[in-house]
Point group: C2
Chain length 246, copies 2
DNA sequence: TATTTAATGTGTAAAATAAACACATTAAAC
DNA sequence: GTTTAATGTGTTTATTTTACACATTAAATA
């Protein structure tokens, strides 16, 4: 048990003045936000990427990000990026992890806070500048610029875990959806096949899908019923629950 | 559906030069690490806190933290703080969340990355400077300085969730422990009572406890068998698993 | 308008997991 | 030697999860 127990004796507590000096004059670092923006289209989970223009990463794709302003809340910076890139304001957004290796960015020391967001692709389609931004199938994402592959992988894993604990998926669907669409979404996110009857049973048992008495239109087969997610009902139910499953 | 779809047209991709200028000259922010250091003693979950010396927060307790140096990896800063405060090097450490509200710190704009760590209290007891550092029962922690109460709450919740998915708890115990100690630990972390027979059955079924054929000493009742956690066995087992439970 | 197509809508049985529960045994303290 | 306070051990029940098949519907087509 080799425990070196000599704690550094610079254990003095810093005064407010010392801290202020450090905060104002030294030890400052550029801070950025990178967003993994997920969408769902053609029964596939997609991610919105931008072409990197840095020579070192020519032709590679990167996440959407920007530096955080000194007078801007961290979450606000993430929302700003989403608004700029998709035109959407009311977006599901979740912080995942902060990446802080000294040499992770070619422009110098930049610590980046990763968020993922879930958007309904139908709502923003017009806002893509075609040559720069592109929706990629998550399965074909590899070899991104900087450490963005690692950031992307981390966010996708987080999404896969979260979507099994909380009803996030609805943010990726239209307001009205069929159970088949919902199941396709879960199968795309988790990259698995699910039993159709058990899937239905499970979601009906949760009891926050509202049957809106409408049917799918323009499908070349028997149309399915349409539902919407009852957010209020879910919130009430959530308060009664102990565990984290939904 | 009021969706304002005018995406900002400042959509131009920044050149490396522009980014470098921003990174070097403007938009820099002080970055800190705050550690929620958990320990386990007297069958209670404890957290190591330091007395705040700032007038504004006189008498309140705060987490152990410091600014990140510009040439220091983020994780390295967290390990540095732990080494300074506890004298321990090989510590379980996990990043939880980054807190970035503009006005969260009285010394100016400081974004803080929160980590929690799990240490064996027996290993470091000598290193506490008595008047400044103190082990608090987590149940009595409230009203901390700055936004540290929120950071603490977030980290405790994260620990409670993680400990049900992965075998972290062993980091809080001596190398050799009885099943009663292990159960006490889980009950303290999760703040619940568990059935003793089911608890044993569950851990034996996991099959990474090694019976070392020793018994407890100096207990005023029938002594229990001692076990150790077989890390290698767990790693092998983990690779075969699909889900997140252990 | 009859037939084909491709999906929807529905229930039950088996398997796996989790929860509830009691008594004989042991070493130390008295 | 008796008391004390814990350890060690299995079975039954309830709950949750999984596996699985066929009649129905609307559109498309012949």
């Amino acid at each position: 048990m080799p425990k070196s127990n000599q704690a550094s004796q610079s254990n003095t507590v810093k005064t407010l003045q010392v801290i202020q000096t450090e905060v104002q004059n030294i030890n400052k670092i550029a801070l950025s936000v990178d967003c993994v923006i997920f969408g769902f289209d053609e029964n596939k989970l997609k991610v919105l990427l931008i072409r990197s223009d840095l020579k070192k990463y020519h032709g590679k794709w990167s996440l959407l990000g920007d530096l955080v302003f000194p007078n801007e809340d961290l979450d606000a910076a993430a929302y700003r990026i989403l608004k700029q890139r998709t035109g959407l304001s009311d977006v599901y957004l979740e912080q995942v992890h902060t990446f802080g290796k000294v040499s992770r960015h070619p422009a110098g020391r930049v610590v980046s806070v990763a968020y993922y967001s879930l958007i309904n692709v139908q709502h923003h389609k017009l806002n893509i500048l075609e040559n720069e931004l592109h929706w990629h199938d998550v399965k074909s994402v590899n070899d991104m610029a900087f450490d963005h592959q690692q950031i992307f992988d981390t966010c996708l894993q987080q999404l896969q875990k979260r979507v099994q604990e909380h009803p996030l998926g609805f943010n990726l669907l239209p307001k009205k959806f069929s159970l088949r669409e919902l199941q396709n979404l879960y199968e795309a996110i988790l990259d698995i096949k699910m039993d159709r009857r058990n899937f239905r049973k499970k979601f009906f048992a949760m009891d926050f899908l509202t049957d809106i008495n409408e049917m799918e239109q323009d499908v070349a087969h028997r149309p399915g019923r349409l539902y919407k997610f009852d957010f209020d009902k879910y919130e009430k139910k959530k308060k009664k629950m102990i565990g984290i499953d939904f």
